[in-house]
């Protein structure tokens, strides 16, 4: 692929390096194929202790497949990885002992009560008998379910279910936690509460590996890997990613957004055009030329432009531009 941007994958980009002894996840060239389809394509990265490491990408980008490999649920086709210091190929059961995992779909027992679910997983994870009551109360407290221990889990709202699932995943206080799109379908307030919990855990030294397709959640991560079509197309802190925007971004205020996008996509000097709220975001090769030419182009098509300025890109802009470039679009 000729259009691949400067490689941001691999360990230790832009001062985000992790000392070797503190690397909780080390992934080298991890690949998973399903028949002819390559779901995850030679992915490499490190995650440091206490980091909140985000996996961002659209559905089908390979986030879930990567997480399932790292939790030893799915065997890699090739490549190597260690999780919490254990080798994925040789010590999958050790890995399972040292991680917490929360899958994309709610997967606690709906026909057990909240307390019964907690008790079950405490038994499965071998939480010492003397600590069980304390851990149960801790989970009930953090999930906000203190007065609902006897309720059937299936009756809980989705937000509560997710917090309970998070609680059961850390019952045994694992050093690393894998969360696969933990907040999908949850209302914004519950989502915020959920992220507060993630921060609480990270502050206590838990490494959190989280995938999401919500851009605003990506901003909460210490470091972020952007995934598209099975490959990591960028990996950096959110600020670093924004700074690495491959081309200038122009925001155009107009009332005929959809028509403007259609026109701009085919215009010379434009890499990518898309709606952003009520405005249009356009990545261009040359900001000065675009500032001069685009209003004229739109005016000739009868589209009124109310404003035009070069703006700081959001993560979504960065993501869209990087995916475009990775797919073979023309770079600046």
């Amino acid at each position: 692929m000729s259009g691949t941007p400067r490689t941001r994958g691999g360990a230790g980009v832009d001062g985000a390096a992790t000392p070797p002894g503190d690397r909780m996840v080390v992934v080298e060239e991890l690949t998973r194929r399903f028949g002819a389809f390559t779901a995850v394509d030679r992915v490499s990265f490190d995650v440091g202790r206490g980091e909140v490491f985000g996996f961002l990408g659209p559905n089908g980008a390979g986030k879930t497949t990567t997480i399932k490999m790292l939790t030893a649920l799915l065997r890699p086709t090739s490549g190597r990885a260690t999780v919490a210091g254990f080798d994925l190929a040789r010590e999958p059961e050790e890995i399972k002992r040292h991680i917490g995992y929360m899958s994309q779909l709610f997967s606690l027992y709906g026909d057990l009560t909240v307390a019964e679910n907690i008790a079950f997983f405490a038994g499965i994870y071998g939480v010492p008998r003397g600590r069980r009551a304390e851990r149960r109360d801790w989970v009930l407290e953090m999930a906000g379910l203190k007065d609902h221990g006897d309720r059937l889990t299936s009756e809980l709202s989705l937000g509560w279910k997710q917090r309970l699932a998070l609680g059961t995943a850390v019952l045994h206080e694992p050093p690393i936690l894998f969360l696969d799109e933990p907040t999908s379908g949850v209302d914004p307030i519950s989502r915020r509460a959920f992220w507060d919990l993630i921060y609480t855990l990270a502050a206590r030294g838990t490494t959190v590996f989280v995938s999401t397709h919500y851009m605003e959640e990506a901003e909460y991560c210490n470091r972020l890997a952007l995934m598209s079509r099975g490959r990591i197309i960028a990996l950096d802190r959110p600020a670093g990613l924004r700074a690495a925007m491959p081309a200038p971004l122009i925001e155009i205020a107009t009332d005929s957004g959809p028509r403007a996008v259609e026109l701009l996509e085919r215009a010379e000097g434009v890499i990518e055009a898309g709606l952003f709220g009520r405005a249009v975001h356009v990545t261009v090769r040359d900001a000065d030329r675009a500032r001069a030419e685009l209003p004229r182009l739109l005016a000739s098509a009868g589209i009124a432009v109310r404003g035009l300025e070069v703006v700081e890109p959001s993560l979504e802009d960065v993501f869209v531009a990087l995916v475009h470039l990775a797919d073979g679009g023309t770079a600046a």
Partner: protein, 374 residues
Amino acid sequence: MTALDPVRLLAVARKEVLQLRRDTRSLILAFALPVTLLVFFGYAISWDVNDIRMAVVDQDHGQRARELTDAFRGSGRFLIVARPEGTADIGRLLDRGAVRIVIVIPPTFGRDLGTGRTAAVQAIVDGSDANTATIALGFTQAIVQQFSARVLFQTRRVRLPITSATRIWYNEELASRNMIVPGLVAVIMMIIAGLLTSLTIAREWERGTMEQLAATPVSRLEVVLGKLLPYLAIGLVDVALCSLLGVFLFHVPFRGSVLYLAGTSFAFLAGTLGLGLVISAVARNQLLATQMGMIATFLPGFLLSGFMFPIDNMPLVLRLITYLVPARYFLVVTRGVFLKGVGPEVLWPQGLLMILYAVVGLGLAARAFRKELT
């Protein structure tokens, strides 16, 4: 690496019990179905041949002919439902299935007996149901022979040189019910045990809970045995319920050791529940698992266990397949314990084979159940 940690094993078993307690459908399947099946089949199935419908064509109208007719009526085996005057109607009666056997007493019957000649009686049998026909012919011959002996004694004071003194062991009344009910216990328990566990792993795959479980340190053996324990207890209760029904409702004698029945039930149930778990692990969805469970338990249970048809009479291929049917062994045990009162001294091969079946079945279940997603 397959670990077996008692804490994790008990956690799985306790969870399974909690789920079972809240699942009415499974509870009905576990407790109501075996009892219903036993009562239903216990009353419906009978191999006793009584009251065979019969026509008598008496062309003689004499004293001896009447006595012979009475002998048939008095035997309790035949029900005389037609007495046509001539032989013309015989074909129609048999065609319609109105009677299964026709006895024709010729006009010369009384005269021949009186003059010491051998008198002939004709018996025409509907052979379409070969089993009933054979039994009807046997009864007919016995009755005619007995009648001959009586005539011989009355007219010439001669006794038959040989008589057989028969004594029937184990099932003195020759009631097929005594054979059927203990067999049913084995067949029904094979079906129930297979169905009970066939859902349990498939359900977890379907609901996504298996994925969560697979990401924990719980081992395959712990899941399989943990799921097995509650159903094993249910199965033992079922065997006890069915046995009590057999004794008190169907009045089947129970002569053997309760302990040996309990011990072999344990091995039998472990193996059959294991078979259900294998199905469940392979199917990974409840509908397919139920269908596979039905096919694997219902037909083999009834047809290949020796319950309906003696295994000795089967062609070699089928006979080899019967070794895979766990009810084959358990059936011999239930019949032996109920009717013959025998125990391990006679039934040890069956007991050993069931233990072997259980070990292999559970091993297969642990192997078939993979913690990995596909």
